[in-house]
Symmetry: C2
Subunit: 318 residues, 2 copies
């Protein structure tokens, strides 16, 4: 992070025709862009959304309200332009890439075996890492994968403790019995992989999914390239949570775009020390919440770049 | 409101490729647009922001951190394009009009006399009413007026009870002594005008300001023309609060865009039964919070208009 760029940006903010601090979190957003882009006057010429898709063996445990085939069908919908994320990316002035990670070959059911081998996990991380283009000004990651809120709950439980029931939510809309099956699947996964739970990377491989591994890799790439990241919902937060366990500042370049209606999301953000920008009861995934926050970031930057100072406008100060 | 348009819009929402309800408040936003525009497929071709400015005699009580001359200076800044609202309106794709209401002639100090005579009040209401153009698809009202958070606090206290200290906040940034002066001014106003406190219109005239009266009139005009209104901060909420007291559904066409850092704003929204879309610690006024929410509304509508249905996309349902 570039502290000098932040200082210069904040000095400019304080000179603009408004009571100091009165733009609230819009001022924080500008400082965050300045820090990670390394520019006192950040830019948003190239905003990217990448949606990663993967298939999950744990769907065998009856953890989703939708059939597993929906993952492949929704990838086709993304490619045809018919999903929510297509509309939201266009409204945000962002490019949209969709990367399907072997969606015809689900991970192993983590209640029975590691979801991925080390080699499979690293291949997915690598795909994510390489998907991020240097020179991007802001990036959002999304996911699609029937069954992946159970995967996310398992990762959160493994990283932060507590039983499955503490970390599961209704995902695409399971009933009470489905919710119990999700909690039981998480508990079975924790039990089966208990020897691996001290290592965040082993947790991500044993309990995670290919699209989550890709988001992990892509978030690492963003850090290396100086690209601020807007986090989407519970699944994305769980995908990047191992970075925070590997390094206390591993997620410093990340801002939580929203808190979703998936119950454990707020708890996970609290554990990660992240305060969401939006709270609109969304629970769709795909990167939808992150994408929705892009125009807030654009508005923050427009104020920073375009406002007159007290001196320029001839306005009296306090 | 057009209930048939809402029903048709909700039927379409439920057919789109997402778990039902998973776009959260974005779905509520579309229903709101449909209801007040009277169209199952709402549009946002003409979005308008109108900022009303007025000057306040109660500044004589030392209630603001900024000198009263700033009101006139900021109107010039709006006209020159240097204020936050200029940047935010551009980022929202909205037109911006600025209407100064006799800013060189402050209202009377409401601790000493009615802020406005009935004739002055009605003239300001009328200016606001006539500023709203039929055919506008969505409208935001903003305000500028040094001293007007004290005015807003006085109206809220008069409408909903409790002493001044319950309803004042730090506005542009007063210290503890300034906060006490604000509370004392409100209490003095309530005391002086106690005979008028049963009538919402007399409250708005005796304790309000010209820009608040104009916003009252403009919000009424929006209702008559079928234009949904995004509410800005505490001052705007206080300006329209008398409509809710005159008619329980008087604010049904209004959505609260944000809750600001001005402490009494959340309490006032609660009294009005309004749930804010954004909570970003802003406290600038000018219509800034309302304008920031316009792109959320645009994104909601893009999803509604552009997404494929389950049938169109060949995606399996539950």
């Amino acid at each position: 992070g570039d502290g000098a760029a932040v200082t210069a940006a904040q000095r400019r903010q304080d000179s603009l025709t408004k009571p100091q601090g009165s733009l609230g979190r819009l001022e924080e957003i500008v400082a965050w862009l300045a820090r990670w882009q390394g520019r006192a006057n950040p830019k948003l010429d190239r905003v990217a959304v990448i949606v990663f898709a993967g298939s999950h063996g744990v769907t065998a445990q009856g953890v989703s309200a939708f059939p597993a085939e929906v993952t492949v069908q929704m990838v086709a919908n993304f490619q045809a332009g018919g999903a929510a994320i297509n509309q939201l990316a266009r409204a945000a002035g962002a490019s949209l890439d969709v990367i399907a990670l072997e969606v015809e070959r689900p991970t192993a059911d983590f209640t029975q075996a590691p979801a991925m081998s080390e080699a499979e996990f690293l291949a997915a991380v690598s795909t994510g890492y390489n998907a991020v283009k240097k020179g991007t000004d802001l990036i959002c990651f999304g996911e699609m994968g029937i069954g992946n809120t159970t995967t996310a709950s398992a990762i959160a439980a493994a990283l932060f403790g507590e039983a499955g029931e503490h970390w599961v939510g209704r995902g695409t809309g399971v009933d009470d019995a489905g919710l119990s099956r999700k909690a039981a699947a998480v508990d079975a996964g924790l039990d089966r992989h208990h020897a691996d739970l001290a290592d965040p990377l082993k947790i991500a491989a044993a309990l995670g999914g290919r699209e989550l591994a890709a988001i992990f890799g892509a978030t690492l790439a963003a850090r290396h390239h100086g690209i601020p990241v807007l986090l989407d919902g519970f699944v994305v937060a769980a995908a990047v949570a191992p970075l925070a366990r590997l390094n206390p500042s591993g997620l410093a370049h990340v801002l939580a775009a929203h808190v979703s209606a998936e119950t454990p999301h707020r708890r996970l953000l609290d554990m990660l020390g992240l305060a969401p920008l939006l709270d609109l009861g969304m629970r769709l995934g795909e990167g939808s919440g992150a994408c929705l926050a892009v125009n807030l970031v654009r508005s923050a930057l427009e104020c920073h770049a375009g406002m007159a100072s007290f001196a320029e406008a001839g306005v009296s100060e306090k």
